[in-house]
């Protein structure tokens, strides 16, 4: 049971808890479609602290809380908060726990949500910590695969783009090890999955590093595309050398299996051509749409509304 628990890392979710989350997400999704007004968290307050830019994650968390009948208080950026006065994150969290029932944090430093969870008696949800993890994105990624393809086990998943700094990739890789899947990793040399993540993957995992996307496209079930993140490069010449390394256009899509899908945590820059959006394989906007019901399910389960 997730009741009163923090979600800092994807490891905080037990193997058998994912099914419960998926079931609760289906229910939330159906309720949204039917236009039901839910009052599961009536009177409860979520505090959101986003010290890094965010559109989807922030909006979907806030939308989820409102949809559940709760309310949201938020700090939009570090500049406008007490952090700019030198307050520690530990102090900020201890203050916020007096104002809210659940705290959502995005922070540029790795381990920030973990630190927050140590100082807060209220549950903390990690909405991204630097190049660390983004566990709720991973849960919605897994939910999307299951919903789109009916099953996660047995699928071949190709992850392409920035595998070094992309926190969604790190969380997703760790989570996929719990399933019987084949994983292909495709990235420029300087954006390979870092050793600290590779060393945590079990030895028997079916995984291969492919330099050429074409070589894996034909048998891929899920093509998970990520943006090469300009903001994570300290050396902009390095960024220039890899920008545009992979571009998925209709010609590339035509090589994919019939029932395959394309996912992307968004935002995209130029890694997926706009004309791909009309392909039924393009699941990334449906994936983003799953963000609200998934986060409704998580928040509701944590706060005991369900």
């Amino acid at each position: 049971m997730l009741k009163n628990r923090s979600i800092v890392s994807i490891d905080d979710i037990g193997d058998n808890e994912l099914d419960d989350i998926f079931k609760a997400t289906d229910e939330m999704s159906n309720a949204l479609k039917q236009g039901k007004v839910l009052k599961l968290l009536d009177g409860m307050v979520m505090a959101t602290f986003f010290y890094e830019p965010s559109t989807r994650t922030r909006l979907s968390f806030e939308s989820a809380m409102h949809r559940l009948g709760g309310s949201v208080i938020s700090v939009s950026e570090a500049k406008s908060s007490s952090v700019s006065k030198g307050e520690t994150l530990a102090d900020t969290v201890r203050m916020a726990e007096g104002y809210a029932d659940i705290i959502v944090i995005r922070h540029p430093m790795e381990g920030a949500a973990k630190l927050a969870s140590r100082f807060s008696s209220k549950p903390i949800i990690n909405a991204g910590d630097g190049s660390g993890q983004h566990p709720t994105q991973t849960i919605l990624d897994l939910y999307t695969i299951k919903r789109e393809l009916g099953e996660i086990n047995g699928k071949e998943i190709t992850i392409v783009g920035d595998l070094r700094y992309g926190r969604t990739v790190h969380s997703l890789l760790l989570a996929l090890t719990k399933f019987d899947v084949s994983i292909n990793l495709v990235s420029p040399e300087i954006l390979k999955v870092p050793d600290h993540i590779l060393s945590r993957l079990p030895k028997g995992i079916k995984m291969k590093v492919a330099n050429d996307l074409d070589s894996v496209m034909e048998h891929t079930d899920v093509l998970y595309v990520t943006r090469i993140q300009k903001e994570r490069f300290s050396d902009q010449t390095e960024y220039q050398s890899v920008i545009g390394s992979y571009s998925i256009d209709m010609e590339a899509v035509s090589k994919m299996k019939e029932d395959s899908i394309i996912m992307h945590p968004l935002p995209r820059v130029d890694e997926i051509a706009p004309d791909v959006d009309s392909s039924p394989k393009a699941a990334y906007f449906r994936q983003a749409g799953n963000g609200v019901p998934v986060r409704m399910a998580l928040v509701s389960m944590i706060l005991g509304g369900k």
């Binding site: 994150l89 430093m109 381990g111 630190l115 910590d129 630097g130």
Partner: protein, 153 residues
């Protein structure tokens, strides 16, 4: 061949033996012993050892070790033994032991880890592997190998 240590006995203090050859000076750094130290110290570097081939040994007069110091030593000298000497006699002898959790012992090597900001927390690591030594930060979840541990001590 005669195999004798050319280091005299100490009257009172601590002997750190079975330090991997060449690591004695790092142990001295851990103990914050430098040119301002007033204790009498004998250091043997690369002395013959039946068990290790070569080893380092340190004898320090009038100095006890704190637990956090022993924990730090265990990270670079996991087979070290420590003897407490009183009036030329060993009154206590024990092997260092790598703790399964290390709190406040070593700084996280990851500059992007939240513990490297001015937050009121001690570093916190889990022992992942003894040989080769690997520890994992309980905050940023990054692993540190021996080289990174030594540079962070």
């Amino acid at each position: 061949m005669e195999r004798t240590l050319k280091i005299s006995k100490i009257k009172d203090g601590t002997v750190i033996d079975h330090i991997p050859a060449g690591k004695a000076l790092k142990v001295m750094t851990i103990l914050k012993m430098d040119d301002r130290t007033t204790n009498s110290v004998s250091i043997g570097i690369r002395v013959p050892s039946g068990k290790m081939g070569q080893k380092d040994v340190i004898k320090i007069e009038n100095r006890d070790l704190e637990k956090f110091e022993v924990d730090k030593i265990s990270l670079i000298a996991p087979e070290a033994s420590i003897s407490i000497v009183k009036d030329y006699e060993i009154t206590e002898k024990f092997s260092v032991e790598l703790p399964t959790r290390l709190i406040g012992t070593v700084k996280c090597h990851n500059t992007e880890c939240i513990t490297n900001l001015k937050e009121p927390v001690s570093s916190d690591f889990l022992l992942i592997s003894k040989k080769p030594i690997v520890i994992r930060c309980n905050f940023c979840e990054r692993n540190m190998n021996e080289k990174e541990i030594i540079s962070s001590l």
